[in-house]
């Protein structure tokens, strides 16, 4: 079973997307802030990371930077999942090494799950 670490601070979004991802055969590990997210990634060594940008304790940009600087986690694909639509953010995260940038409000939970499926399976 492919493993996903989902770093998102909004509980309802965590719950709904986790439900959808599990229904699509993924094993999901949740973190509600940036610091916990980084620790969880190192502990779980997932196949993919779903990362929000506005997070307490450590924002998504810093999390992405740290993940990509760490030898043990730098090759894990990171998909940024956010409601920030600023193009400067897209450039920033792509330069930091994210493989995709999805705006939450533009997709249903199922569409996001299918995108991840096509990336991993």
């Amino acid at each position: 079973m492919k493993k996903i670490v989902f770093i998102e601070d909004e509980p309802s979004l965590q719950k709904t997307l986790t439900m959808m991802l599990k229904a699509n055969g993924f094993s999901v590990f949740s973190a509600f802030d940036g610091e916990t997210g980084i620790n969880l990634v190192k502990e779980v060594n997932p196949d993919l990371i779903l990362l929000d940008l506005i997070l307490p304790k450590k924002d998504g940009f810093k999390v992405l930077e740290e993940i990509k600087e760490d030898e043990s986690t730098k090759d894990i694909p990171v998909v940024v999942l956010t409601n920030l639509e600023d193009t400067s953010n897209v450039e920033k995260v792509v330069n930091l090494g994210a493989v995709n940038y999805l705006v939450k409000a533009n997709y249903t939970a199922d569409e996001i799950a299918q995108k991840i499926k096509s990336m991993l399976l």
Binding site: D9, L13, N83, D86
Partner: protein, 318 residues
């Protein structure tokens, strides 16, 4: 100010980036241009006066007069552009914050409904109820957000009408605390309420003073550290009642205290703790309190907590 800071401030391009406007509309750039114009105008007027053989004192007076006129005109031009740039910045900030804050509950609704509609997922009755509950809560959150924005708009355009009546603040504060109990519990914070025995009824607008009290208690809960207390107090002085809320949370950085009542302001350390909200709570509270004839102030130390208080006169002449 360090030498590095001084040189940083001398970098026009860097300073102009903060305003998010093109260089030709940037107040810092325009200030430099106006400076050059003033200098050129002074020199030109001096040389013209000298060319026509006027007395040195007259030349100096003409140069001084020219300097005054051009400087004054330049000042007003630069100030207008500075105000426009700030408005433009505020508008961008406003749109960014609003769109992000409203898109979050909308996304929650969209995702919840997509699961409820999905044919390939088995959902238990409990999960169905949870998802419907999330849709409902998201709708409530959005209504609250829109109302808070409308309130700010009404405050600023003076379309808010106050209705003064005698209010029992002990009762009002007790109800406010009861409403926030669930939020406080979720953060493992404990709200303790202390009040003097002889708190008199005050003449104020009960709905608006409730907003002030709720906003202050809300902030205390938001920025408290888990397993800490929040102290809410009501005290009587000779002519006033003093309400205070104290938390032992993240506090406000010294450099940001001057912005604390600004619209959409969120302190830098706040994001390390929580990400929600427009940053309108204190702006609204202060605005309303001023309108009610009260005074608000605060004391805060980063990583130690904050104390916010307001004073409301016992007898308000309307």
């Amino acid at each position: 100010m360090s030498i590095k800071n001084i040189f940083s401030k001398l970098s026009i391009k860097k300073e102009c980036k903060k305003y998010n406007v093109p260089l030709k509309k940037c107040p810092v750039f325009l200030f430099v241009i106006m400076g050059v114009v003033v200098i050129v105008a002074i020199l030109a007027s001096y040389f013209v006066a000298a060319f026509y053989g006027t007395e040195p004192e007259v030349q100096a007076l003409i140069a001084l007069f020219t300097a005054m006129i051009t400087f004054t005109i330049g000042h007003f031009i630069v100030r207008s552009f500075a105000e426009l740039a700030e408005l433009s910045n505020l508008k961008s900030k406003f749109l960014n914050i609003i769109s992000h804050e409203l898109l979050t509950p909308l996304s929650s609704m969209k995702w919840s409904l997509s699961i409820l509609n999905a044919k390939n997922i088995d959902i238990s009755k409990k999960e169905r109820e949870e998802l419907l509950g999330m849709v409902n809560q998201s709708a409530e959150n959005m209504i609250e957000m829109v109302n808070s924005l409308l309130d700010v708009s009404r405050l600023e355009t003076g379309k808010i009408r106050l209705h003064f009546k005698e209010v029992d603040l002990v009762d009002l504060v007790s109800k406010a605390i009861k409403n926030k109990e669930a939020d406080a519990l979720a953060k493992n914070t404990n709200i303790k309420f202390y009040y003097d025995n002889n708190i008199p009824r005050v003449k104020t607008d009960p709905r608006r003073i409730s907003v002030v009290i709720n906003n202050l208690i809300d902030n205390a809960i938001k920025f408290s550290k888990p397993n800490s207390d929040i102290l809410v107090k009501l005290k009587k002085s000779l002519h006033d009642v003093i309400f205070s809320v104290e938390d032992f949370g993240i506090g406000i950085p010294e450099s940001q205290k001057k912005h604390i009542y600004s619209k959409f302001f969120k302190a830098d350390n706040e994001f390390k703790y929580q990400t929600k909200g427009f940053g309108l709570g204190l702006f609204t509270a202060k605005f309303l309190l001023d309108a009610l004839g009260g005074k608000m102030d605060f004391r805060s130390k980063e990583n130690q907590g904050s104390l916010f208080w307001f004073i409301i006169p016992i007898n308000k002449d309307n």
